[in-house]
Amino acid sequence: MTQASTPAIEGWFTTGDSPALIGSRCTACTTVFFPRTAGFCRNPVCAGESFEEVELSRRGRIWSYTDAQYQPPPPYIPTHADGEAYAPFALAAVELAEGITVLGQVADGYGVDDLRVGDEVELVVETLYTDETGDRLIWRWLPLDAGHATELGQEADA
């Protein structure tokens, strides 16, 4: 990561050696929400109105997965340079110990052949796109059980 690297969205995840998603925990009923929330607890039987920030589990299990074989429409920002071909990327929904399932792109270099429902993944932070301020970062899911499939030759350790 260069010094110009900043999250593509502020306050959703930490960066550094052990990055994690940032959620909100209701101080009354302890239900955790991601993305962060404020104001009123959405547990219908809870009157809570205050939350504390919590880092969510960095590891979880794949609920399901897919990929985007066509370039998504705006506001998606293409990652390839002009003149280069669009490169498909994989997506996974991951169940965390907090009882939340969170979507994310899958780490660079991994495709659907590397994934199975129930497999373990770990959160990493990678570059989503680059703009005038530098690299813009996003959380991604890194497969930990991908030994049964082929790697695509890019570095996958974040």
Binding site: F33, N43, S64, P73, L91, A93, T101
Partner: protein, 396 residues
């Protein structure tokens, strides 16, 4: 007291890409429904429009837009928006006013024109809108959500891409003779499996298109129907428009995450199961009483999910029904005899009403070329963005 209302008329504008204004489609469908009912427009005392969000102010006030185009007749007006469940919510508004004695004859209309390709969010930067963020942060399109559900069927229940293709083959065959369907052509499993993969495991032909189209329904009190000599009309037995119950633990479009079940526990029913359950409860019947189902096959695999959500078989067994031909016309429980979204494509505010039109034709024995013999009870199901969904039960 009975909570039934009568369906006296149904009508559509054929689905397609016609390049016309949504009002043209809506008025065409409305006039078809009025003619089907044999009721003059001047007898209608409530019009409910399904809002379209892609056609400017006229679309936001669709009920009044249709009323003006039909010629102001002094009817009360309402407009509903509930994403893919828009038509059912509009129907529910009409039904409630009839049952409350506030009106007798209601016209419910939904019409849309839709863009080519992926449905994308409205322009502008909206950092607090999940429907915008899912594209910006993840590149998560609608087909990608459908693909998540499809992949779970494969990894958990042993479904195959050939099963999904077979849903398309079946629905294409069902819709062959449907005059309102956009696609009326046989499709082979090979056609599906050799079409491009959009979001693994779904091919292009597994995913429904977007279409122009319109559907309209004339609802009346049972008493009004009787006074007009119709003693045994098709009746609305239930309209379910329930919201999810916290925690909603299934990843739903357009969200980036689910609710947490850690404190509240996993609810007894998923959102889609609860939509169907509420409809059955209200109608006082069960899945075993159903003759046919019109379900929202945004993807082929999603039809299989709906079959289970509607309780037509146990979880994980929809492929068994499909392979046995049970969901084909002539089988035990035909699903999407109209041809479904596979043959229509989606016209959002019209689609839930189109399902009601098809079930009505089926229950009257008027579904030429696709009739489910002896149909007595039909159920519809759909789900849309932001906690919307619906199920309508009709019976004769």
């Amino acid at each position: 007291m009975s909570n039934d209302v009568a369906v006296l008329g149904v009508g559509m504008h054929p689905w397609g890409k016609w390049g016309k204004n949504f009002v043209t489609y809506g008025v065409h469908a409305a006039r078809a429904a009025l003619a089907d009912a044999g009721i003059p427009w001047t007898d209608v005392d409530l019009i409910v429009g399904g809002e379209t969000v892609r056609n400017g102010y006229g679309g936001y006030v669709a009920g009044a837009t249709f009323a003006q185009a039909l010629g102001w007749n002094g009817a009360s007006v309402a407009t509903s928006y509930a994403a893919c469940a828009t038509g059912a919510q509009a129907l529910d508004t009409a039904r409630a006013r009839i049952l409350a004695g506030l009106c007798e004859v209601a016209l419910v209309v939904g019409a849309d024109t839709t863009p080519k390709g992926f449905l994308a969010p409205n322009a502008g930067e909206r950092w607090d809108d999940p429907d915008w963020l899912r594209f910006r942060l993840l590149g998560m399109t609608n087909p990608a959500y459908f693909a998540l559900y499809a992949r779970r069927r494969m990894d958990l229940y042993g479904a195959t891409q050939a099963d999904f293709a077979q849903v398309k083959v079946k629905n294409a065959k069902h819709g062959l003779h449907n005059p309102n369907a956009r696609y009326r052509k046989e499709v082979s499993a090979h056609d599906v499996l050799s079409s491009a993969v959009v979001s693994d495991p779904l091919h292009l032909l597994d995913i429904c298109a977007t279409s122009d189209g319109a559907a309209a329904v004339i609802l009346t009190s049972v008493d009004y129907a009787r006074r007009h000599g119709i003693a045994a009309p098709v009746k609305v037995k239930a309209v379910s428009t329930v919201t999810p119950t916290f925690p909603n633990t299934v990843m739903d479009m357009p969200n980036l995450s689910t609710d947490s079940s850690a404190v509240a526990g996993v609810p007894a029913r998923t959102f889609k199961e609860s939509i169907a359950h509420a409809a059955y409860e209200e109608a006082g019947i069960g899945p075993e009483d159903v003759s046919l189902a019109e379900v929202y096959d945004l993807s082929t695999a999603l039809e299989l999910d709906w079959i289970e959500d509607l309780g037509l078989c146990k979880r994980g067994e929809a492929e068994t029904l499909l392979r046995a031909g049970d969901t084909t016309i002539g089988g035990r429980i035909p699903v999407n005899p109209s041809g479904g979204l596979a043959c229509f494509g989606e016209a959002v505010p019209a689609q839930a009403l189109a399902q009601v039109c098809e079930v009505t034709w089926q229950l009257r024995g008027q579904a030429d070329g696709r009739q489910v013999e002896g149909a007595r009870v039909g159920v519809t199901a759909n789900q849309g963005l932001f906690g919307h969904g619906s199920s309508v039960i009709l019976a004769v």
